[in-house]
């Protein structure tokens, strides 16, 4: 099946809007004295990560696109490019985003790419641009395969994916509190996404949505931002570098060091690559479930509250060792 379908690269065209919105947010914070924080090196690192993400798209994007075009050749289906089809594609691609994002937090191989987006201790519009350089190596493009096999043209799938990312830009801000209740119920918002960026035990592994928060509500991963548990942004173990190369590759280096250490079984080496972040063969680290369980041991009053309501686990003996 061959045809000539063309869609604009929405993310590239949004670059002027990104810059203008960052300036507007900065001015808002400076004038009002609230609504977020900016720090020079943190922001510059985020912006360079964003530029590198665009550059990696130029350099490596052909791999995913070639894969998608191969799928397009073999599928007998073609849904066309009408407006209702584009809208349907946008919604289904957002479901695809939810699962890729969830994998990004639960599979260390994918986390190695996504971690840099969470590596800032700040939360402002520049944080939205702190994007991966190594997404291609996660092979998560396969999650888009069903869309193309169903008859959505690859160019359309990439176009709606770009719109999805542009939507997510504006929710990386502390300048907006809560949106109207109906909007908070359906859409991903600054409040929902602030919780997603939290390193507080309550907020670990929640709110994976891109555009529609309904996916988190459906799949049981929704945690509302709590007024009495202010979001602490960043990683469980925050990194100590502004060097974009180290930000981009530090978790890949960590995987290599962990999986290649002597004396491990094949199963342990694979677990260092693909188990949830925090896995260790000797129990010297904590994953998110163990961090939540330890928090509940210190704060039993939080049991049953959002973010802890599905937790039955208690800290095991192996997890009481201090994490290196």
């Amino acid at each position: 099946m061959t045809d000539h379908v063309s869609f604009p690269d929405a993310v590239q065209w949004a670059v002027p809007f990104f810059i203008a919105a960052i300036l507007a947010e900065f001015l808002w914070i400076a004038i009002k004295g609230r609504g977020g924080r900016y720090e020079t090196r943190d922001a510059v690192t985020s912006l360079i990560m964003g530029a590198g993400n665009i550059a990696s798209g130029f350099l490596l994007g052909f791999i995913a696109y070639a894969f998608f075009m191969w799928l397009w050749q073999i599928t007998p289906l073609n849904l066309g490019t009408s407006i209702p089809v584009i809208i349907l594609c946008f919604v289904l691609d957002d479901l695809r985003y939810y699962w890729v994002h969830r994998f990004g937090h639960r599979i260390r191989w994918v986390w190695a790419s996504h971690v840099n987006h969470h590596s800032s201790q700040h939360y402002n519009l520049t944080t939205a641009l702190r994007q991966t350089w190594t997404y291609t190596f996660t092979f998560m493009m396969v999650v888009r395969a069903p869309l193309i096999l169903l008859g959505f043209h690859p160019a359309m799938v990439l176009f709606v994916g770009g719109l999805n990312l542009i939507y997510q830009f504006w929710i990386h801000t502390e300048a907006i509190g809560k949106m109207p209740r109906w909007f908070e119920a359906i859409m991903n918002t600054p409040s929902h996404h602030r919780a997603h960026h939290g390193r507080n035990p309550r907020y670990l592994d929640c709110n994976y949505a891109g555009v529609f928060i309904i996916w988190d509500r459906i799949f049981g991963t929704f945690v509302p931002e709590q007024e009495d548990d202010k979001v602490d942004y960043g990683l469980v173990h925050n990194i100590g570098t502004f060097n974009p190369l180290r930000v981009a590759f530090h978790e890949w280096v960590g995987i290599w060091k962990d999986a290649s250490q002597p004396g491990l079984t094949v199963r342990q080496r694979l677990a260092y690559c693909f188990a949830p972040p925090g896995y260790s063969h000797d129990g010297s680290r904590d994953n998110s479930e163990q961090i939540k369980a330890k928090h509940l041991a210190r704060h039993p009053e939080d049991r049953g509250t959002p973010g802890f309501d599905q937790l039955g686990a208690k800290p095991s003996a192996a997890t009481t060792t201090k994490q290196a």
């Binding site: 810059i19 300036l23 900065f26 900016y38 990194i239 100590g240 570098t241 210190r298 201090k322």
Partner: protein
């Protein structure tokens, strides 16, 4: 979008934001006190029990003694980063110490200490 225009926008945007933030005072390092250093340590390591905190005179680093050993907390832009002193090298530096962590995500930090502090910190950083 033509590549030349995209390049100008990206480079100009990064340069402009950098200049704006620096000139409006957003490059200042966080200042630590004993109390904030202790609070920050527990933010990074909530399972720890802090015994005492020694803050460097410049307010940008603190040596934290906990029940499980010593740790280093330092200003990282407007925020902080902390590490237990488990796998590291302490190297003399003209302005104090350079601590290397053997960690790709946190390679090193330079602690600014005067001569008196340097001796005290050297003693505190030695393995128990």
């Amino acid at each position: 979008m033509p590549l030349e225009i995209l390049l100008v926008l990206v480079v100009g945007g990064i340069a402009g934001v950098t200049l704006l933030l620096h000139l409006t005072g957003r490059s200042r390092l966080r200042l630590l006190t004993s109390e904030t250093a202790s609070d920050q340590w527990l933010r990074h390591f909530p399972d720890d029990t802090v015994i005492d905190v020694t803050v460097a005179h410049d307010g940008h680093a603190a040596l934290v003694r906990t029940e499980t050993g010593a740790g280093l907390l330092w200003s990282f832009g407007a925020d902080t980063v902390a590490r237990h002193l488990l796998d590291f090298d302490r190297i003399d530096h003209p302005e104090g110490f350079e601590v290397q962590f053997h960690d790709f995500s946190t390679p090193r930090v330079i602690i600014h200490l005067d001569d008196t502090e340097r001796r005290h910190w050297q003693h505190l950083m030695e393995p128990a």
